[in-house]
Symmetry: C2
Subunit: 234 residues, 2 copies
DNA sequence: TGCTCCGGGGTGGTCCGACCACTGTGCTGG
DNA sequence: CCAGCACAGTGGTCGGACCACCCCGGAGCA
């Protein structure tokens, strides 16, 4: 028969990746657990260490595994942030119409997250949001403003209580993505407007008003979205 | 000086990945374009072919590059579906509370997508949706039902006109994900209910009523979400 | 007894060279 | 002119070697 040696579908590396993923999905490998050596794994699957390393590297980049030099290979915590890190790559590599689509997705998620945050935010979290809001208004250094802008939204996403959503939004708002969209946007003087919108979001949060928060956040992201859409349109 | 030979931050493979990503992001590499040979690329970056291969493999798995045996390495089309394929891995590997979070994200996106679809769907697309709805009601084979269920939602997502959102939803509804949640869910007899919900979604689409569509879709996903949440709760 | 230091074994990271499998192309022969 | 083939070039796989790093345990000291 041919059930032991013959399969041979796709590249050996691809098979190795599937095998490891399957092990984790089926519960054979727990988060944080240490895997066998590269050499042992390669021997187990009957492939060379080189091919096995390619597979491991791929899973490492995806955030599924974590290789510690001199120590061993471990299964990552498998939490949202780890796995969705690659999501940022999508934002970095998207152009043209795809950028508008990404912004639309962000608008939907960000407005919902802000609405959730309005209902659930604690006084401590609200204070942190206010801190970033104030810091953003106190400086004129674009770099610093952007940092506090990101932190502002990150804090809100965290307050929404859905780590997965927060991780996705983090990827959609990655440095490069934001920087690219911003450059040229704020130059048209739509800068004070951003501050007003942030203030509106904060007011809704402080008032624990989900609907107002949703509207404010949607308008905030939609602002950039519309500008970008118009810029690519004709 | 040390700007040419010294850097040495992180692993060489990681640097190689960043270099290629940067080339694409900065427009030096167009979608579909062919890259230099593995051997040439390795020489250009001053690293071994093995390390370069690991980097290429990682980018291949992420859907950024596409390697054709005997032909060469090419930049992928860089469209939503290519890059967000790894999103399905997240769903496959998520467990426990994370599953509920993913379902919550899906509920938000799916309801919005369905609302958009209600406003934009064409007669041809609506006919396709009806076809899957009928096929799903005509059989009792779980496998076939699941296939038409997926196609039903996929068609709606496509009608929403946002490829990126459709790609994300595709990942969130991946075979494995759905299969795992479904197993044990339909056993509790919540099967006719699914058919009723699909019918409600279809009615809203046919009536071009976005708000009704949003509500129907949210209820549909929320059904599974609540069941799963209760199952993990106590 | 307890601490510090250091040495070695084991691990991932990198490199090299060879060969295989497949593809594309240009040449050859009809 | 076309069909078929041979060949050079490409990614895919392999095995081995060496390096850089981490961890642990034993030796030595206080």
């Amino acid at each position: 028969m041919d059930d032991e040696t013959a399969p041979q579908k796709g590249t050996v590396t691809q098979r190795a990746i599937e095998r490891i993923k399957a092990m984790i999905a089926e519960g054979g490998l727990e988060p944080g657990q240490r895997l066998p050596t590269e050499r042992d794994l390669a021997a187990q699957l009957g492939i060379s260490r080189s091919s096995m390393r390619e597979g491991i590297r791929a899973l490492t980049v995806m955030g599924v595994l974590e290789a510690r030099h001199g120590s061993g290979i471990y299964v990552s915590r498998l939490e949202a942030g780890d796995l969705l890190e690659t999501f940022g790559v999508v934002a970095d590599l998207s152009r043209g119409p795809r950028l508008v689509e990404l912004l639309e997705v962000r608008r939907i998620l960000e407005s919902t997250a802000t609405a959730l945050a309005a209902a659930r935010i604690t006084v401590d979290q609200l204070a942190e949001v206010e801190r970033h809001l104030a810091a953003m208004n106190a400086t004129d250094d674009p770099e610093e403003i952007l940092a506090h802008d990101l932190a502002f939204h990150r804090e809100i996403a965290a307050a929404a209580g859905n780590e997965t959503m927060a991780a996705i939004l983090e990827g959609l708002s990655s440095r490069t993505f934001r920087a690219r969209v911003w450059r040229g946007f704020q130059e048209e003087g739509a800068f004070a407007r951003t501050r007003r919108e942030h203030a509106a979001i904060h007011r809704a949060l402080a008032a624990h008003d989900p609907e107002a928060a949703r509207a404010a956040a949607a308008a905030h992201v939609g602002e950039v979205e519309e500008w970008l859409r118009a810029r690519l349109g004709p």
